[in-house]
Symmetry: C2
Subunit: 206 residues, 2 copies
DNA sequence: AAAATTAGTATTGAGTCGAAACTATATTTA
DNA sequence: TAAATATAGTTTCGACTCAATACTAATTTT
């Protein structure tokens, strides 16, 4: 590398300079994004999984029972339903999830992780390097980052008129009942405390 | 949507609960990353460009004259040189860049954006929605975010033994000369002030 | 009862991506 | 200085993503 640079010393050729007017935040996010993607690819490759497949498994491990359908995955990942349908087919064939027909709507199916799917997510997401780097953040730094990213994410989603896919705990429709359970005013059903920590496609921020 | 949820009220079926042990920071980054990618895809689609092609053009608009080769792009995006070679071929065919042989090393080529390439980057990166959302951040928030992301990015790169690809201004080898120019102690060449704001593949943080 | 909407699948073509094999040039070493 | 090694880049292959389009079947609206 050094040697190669010694040669570069001799090089002289014209060079236009681009003004650096681009947002540094964008550059950081773009790089981090690419890095995460490459990391997810590496992790997934051990099981023959693509990055998008890893993301789908991760989503399915976090979503509630109203949000585990192909359409919900489609909205979450902001892709077309055809694309998602194909990828789900691959994941099913590989044994990471299976489909259960909805008992009430015959058009609809529910996606459930198999044991292999759950195992993969719990072991591989988020990958260990990321976790150890996060551990080095001070709690103030961590909170600042979380707040900032939350703001960016939700504002971008708002601008795209997309669902926020937050957890019930932070949803307008979620109501605390006296007996330490919760109630969703949209679906009109009771939710256990654990359930309020899962992602919902109908989430509306308070 | 509402109507559909009314039906869900009737649904009763077993549900296992996954413990939410995953890092919220990771989930935010993963989603932001996917959102940025989708957005880049949309922007690029108008010109027939894929997300990765947009990223390559963006990189080439920011890198210095020692870092505009296929190998540098490969390292920056952390992919294989074969993949990058293919993508560059497409970008060249589409008229967004052209290749210039290196006068000193006959193996090497330099990638230069065409006018169309420069025009695309300056208009499309970062996309306008992102810019307007960033404008709503307080300067303190912005600084916190920048610091936090910078930390995550550089620590992850360090963990992967990857080059940091920072700008000369923040490089160990960069030396300020009295006459408001700079000097790179690695390549042994003078750098103009503008040049010190460009990305270098040999960057080593101070 | 007819029309419109919704959930999901299948097909097609351009492109990504890693792996592997390859060419040509440059550097190291013996 | 000749041989071995390293480096920059290209090509080919096969599995996969992805948007677009067309499609089926079920459900809701009119």
């Amino acid at each position: 590398m050094l040697l190669q640079m010694k040669n570069l010393v001799k090089i002289v050729f014209s060079q236009y300079y681009n003004v650096m007017n681009t947002n540094i935040l964008y550059t950081y996010l773009e790089r981090l994004s690419e890095l995460l993607r490459v990391e997810a690819r590496k992790k997934g490759a051990e099981q023959g999984l693509q990055p998008i497949q890893v993301e789908i498994l991760h989503y399915l491990s976090q979503c509630n029972r109203f949000s585990d359908t192909p359409m919900a995955v489609t909205e979450y990942l902001r892709q077309t339903k055809g694309t998602v349908s194909q990828t789900l087919k691959v994941l099913e064939k590989k044994g990471f999830l299976h489909k259960r027909p909805d008992p009430n709507d015959k058009r609809s199916v529910h996606l459930k992780l198999t044991t292999a799917g759950q195992k993969f997510v719990s072991e591989a997401v988020p990958f260990s390097v990321f976790q150890s780097v996060c551990a080095d953040l001070s709690s103030a730094q961590k909170q600042n980052l979380e707040q900032g990213l939350h703001f960016l994410l939700f504002e971008l989603l708002k601008a795209n008129q997309a669902q926020t896919f937050g957890v019930c705990k932070s949803c307008r429709y979620n109501q605390k009942l006296p007996n330490s359970t919760f109630f969703c005013q949209l679906v009109g059903e009771e939710l256990s405390p654990q359930e309020t920590q899962l992602i919902c496609r109908e989430h509306v921020p308070v």
